[in-house]
Amino acid sequence: MTSRMQTVRRVSLAVVRKDLRIEWSSKVLLNQVAPFSLVIMIMFAFALDNEGILQRVAPGLVWLATLFSMLVIVQRSFAVETADGALDALRVAGTEPLGIFIGKSLALMVQLLALELMLLAIALVLYAVEPTAMGYAETFATMLIATIGLGFVGTLYGGLGAGARGRETLLPLLLLPAVAPVLIGATRATEAAFGSGGAQSSEGWPWIGLLAVFAGVFGAVGALAFGPMIEE
């Protein structure tokens, strides 16, 4: 392993451990984000109070709730970096930006995955969706791949908005259009997994493949752009 890769690995581990420790200590995901996404799911259920419709649109609702909750997690992830100038300090210290990007992306992915599992459980109960065994496998694969893409793109745009004035409104404006491809791909794949609207399980795998491509593109762009972006 080259010296740079060793540094990237060391910084990534330090950052992911630090971010998860902050979450563990503050319990923002548990006490604020999870209830927020639960409320979104319940409001959807009230608004679309028809079992047939709910089952049909459940995959889209799960992913919309994920994206809205992700905005809160990303805002929070960078708020802790800017509260006492820690992101600036990392930059000033010459800390490997690729390591920061990977570390923050991994921490975001872990939190998103936990949230998505909760949202899936809520969808099973509230929206009465009944995936098959293959459907569950497809759902978990979709979650995993989509979360990788969301983790990368969330960190990239979180870093972009970190120093900006009015970042609370800027982040949704920038991030939501960027994650639209993931929303479409993940929703289609989950529809196939849930069998929504008569979709077949096999129809989901090409969408999962597309999600993998998005994850790769977002990861590569983030790896290249994150350093210069926080430098500005």
Binding site: R10, V11, L13, A14, V15, R17, K18, R21, I22, S25, S26, V80, A83, D84, G85, A86, D88, A89, L90, V92, A93, G94, T95, G99
Partner: protein, 215 residues
Amino acid sequence: METVVELSGVVAVLSNFPALAGIDLVVHRGEIVLLHGPNGAGKTSVLRVCAGLLPIERGEGSVMGVNLRTHRESVREQVGLLGHSNGLYLELTVTQNVSFWASTVGATAQEVALAMQRMKIDGRLAHVKASQLSAGQRRRCALASLIVRRASLWLLDEPHAGLDTAGQDELDAILQSAVSSGATVVLASHETQRSRLLATRVIKVDGGLISGSES
């Protein structure tokens, strides 16, 4: 004596405004150099040039042998710049903060313990969240982070700001101790009366130029 900082005719620009208009400065290892001057004189810009954050437009500059014109990013690992904020994670404890900075450079748990001991933030304070610390305790925690990062050039911008007299005394002792351990300190300060007693050399900066020097 080993030269740590060497700036020669350095011109640096901030938002199309010449922040430094041809600075000449040499700092040797083990010195505590005080930069003083009015607001907007260029003190912070000198620190930012030395930290590799502000590019040199004209002139030549090097820090610990690293050419600031060609490799300014490379110098950052050896330099610790402490500005008005402390760079701490407010929801982490003192130990977790210092350990985080240590882990970014691969420093050991023993180095963390020693740095905390030196800054007197071990014991009771070790498990207190940074958000619950006083201004002086946060400053000490930030300085402990500089130590574990193994910074050999400390660039401090208004380090006494926000500290009470006891905190300022402690900071002075910490800086003297850092220098005796091989570090070099350049500080910009308005608190010239206090800083003069600490500094081995005082340099007056005005209008982006060095306008005087005294030992």
